[in-house]
Amino acid sequence: MNGSEIFGAWVAVFLTLGIFSYLYKDNPFYKISEHVFVGVSAGYWMAMAFWTQVQPNLFGRLWPTPEGEISGFLMKAWYGIYNFFGLILPSVFPDGGIDKGHGHDPHFMYILPFALGIMMLLSVASKLSWLARLGIAYTVGMAAGLRAYAFLNSNVLGQIKGSAVSFVDMPFFSLTGVSIFNNLIILVGTITGLLYFYFSKEHTGNFGKVTRVGIYFLMISFGASFGFAVMGRISLLIGRFTDLISYGGPTYNYASLWVLLVMIVLLAVWTFKGDKKVTG
């Protein structure tokens, strides 16, 4: 076990116990852990997106490694821009173009997403923030179009096809008892659940009784979701405890035990002193 792994374990233990300490009360350990988590997450996501998409797939297509000498005024000017960027950020724009398997000719079409991306960043400049709307409009429009078909196909048609029972060929009557029961439950649950969200008619009388059945179906569904949520959270707790137990061994210099001890002592001291920084 090398030093960096042991150090990493100590940091992991501190952050885990720091977050758990919130269960006692809000305190500086929790604040530190929370801010470190948010900062590291944002930085990590941005770095990953840049080095796995923007640099290889955008810049790599705009300025691929040219085959042989660059000829022509336009190409020389185009790679002149690249060389200028290379002077500022040589790791992003290495000498001789970016070789990520996109061929040797620039894909000028990608100037469009590049420009839209820059426009979105301009939202921070008050005078030019209107340009950001173009980028956002493109993203929203593209996403809406892309999702509309997929939802219609998988969530509407696919679900209807999967749950519908054909009466024409009479397979309903050839189903087993359990399947008939399940299909009836789906039928009743779907119809009463949908009727519950029909607000053009007052939920009274027979209609009210039907929508009441819909509420029961919804409550059962929420109950199942709650049960699964509890199960998931317990699994995550088991995962953290498993790590804390392994970090509490001699290999990691008893990291869990030491950090836990120091935190308990400091929390106790702050509580008894009534430190104003520790808010309950």
């Binding site: 398997g101 696919g158 749950s163 569904s221």
Partner: protein
């Protein structure tokens, strides 16, 4: 009797921190002293197992890692178990990631299973294509042309230089698809943009909280089987006969559930007793 009811009402307003402490204890103790409770696979886990069993040596499986450290205890055990099953059957494994931290989860799982346990060769038996941002747009790209999305793998090798990438151009070229998903983008997007349009057999492993959302796709036959959270992982481990992290956590899971159910019942009794008293006075 009245004293007992007094106790129940008082206990109902117990400081929540005592409940946290009890939950911590009932989770930790079984980790130190395992009970060895039996694990019975559900139909949905069995379906995933059967789908993999139908694959033959040399078939191609696309496995997507869509989770990170925050959901690792739930998804990672099932990802490891699935990789074990796939490599056991000599299926070629192609890995993509729609979450940035999914790449590191995949690297860890591959190191454990492909390198150490099965001595598989990178580029011939498995390949880590890596992460690409773009969510459903990435899946859509993979369905039409993988090389539009990935020109290099996670190690920087050109796709055309990787032997097992020969004749693999789109999702339709795969025999099996598995999404190890902890949210968006994940299982739902793979169903909508890959499995439904191409007809490739797809299974999934999700966090417990997602099971309700994904189950309709399983029941309609759009997904073949689902592994739900840590119990799903434990069931799959029992099916392949290799106990792992999922199995070791199930005792703690079961005991914790029992205690939580107890708390819920007790809390309800306390609530109803208190309500009856307030009506009375």
């Amino acid at each position: 009797m009245e004293k007992f009811l007094d106790f129940i009402v008082r206990a109902g307003s117990l400081d929540r921190r005592y409940i946290f402490l009890v939950i911590a204890l009932v989770v930790i103790l079984p980790l130190f002293f395992p009970l060895g409770l039996p694990i019975r696979p559900t139909t949905s886990s069995q379906d995933v197992y059967d789908a993999v069993e139908k694959l033959e040596a040399g078939d191609k499986a696309l496995v997507s890692f869509e989770y990170g450290p925050s959901t690792k205890p739930e998804i990672h055990p099932m990802a490891v178990a699935l990789l074990r099953h796939l490599f056991e059957r000599d299926v070629k494994v192609y890995i993509t990631c729609l979450w940035p931290d999914g790449q590191f989860m995949a690297m860890e799982a591959l190191q454990q299973v492909a390198d150490r346990q099965y001595n598989k060769v990178y580029g011939e038996d498995y390949v880590l294509l890596g992460y690409r941002p773009g969510a459903e747009a990435v899946i859509k790209g993979l369905v039409s042309n993988i090389r539009k999305v990935f020109t290099v793998d996670a190690r920087g090798n050109f796709l055309d230089d990787i032997p097992m990438m020969a004749n693999v151009n789109q999702v339709g070229d795969f025999d099996y698809l598995f999404s190890a998903s902890a949210g968006y983008p994940g299982t739902v997007e793979w169903v909508q943009y890959a499995a439904d349009p191409t007809g490739v057999t797809m299974s999934t492993g999700t966090t417990s909280i997602q099971v309700n959302e994904v189950m309709p796709y399983v029941q309609s036959g759009q997904i073949v089987g689902i592994l739900g959270g840590m119990p799903g992982a434990a069931e799959y481990e029992s099916l392949i006969g290799q106990a792992g992290i999922g199995t070791s956590g199930m005792d703690a899971q079961s005991v914790a559930h029992l205690v939580i159910v107890g708390f819920i019942i007790f809390g309800n009794i306390s609530f109803f007793v208190e309500r009856r008293r307030s009506k009375k006075y």
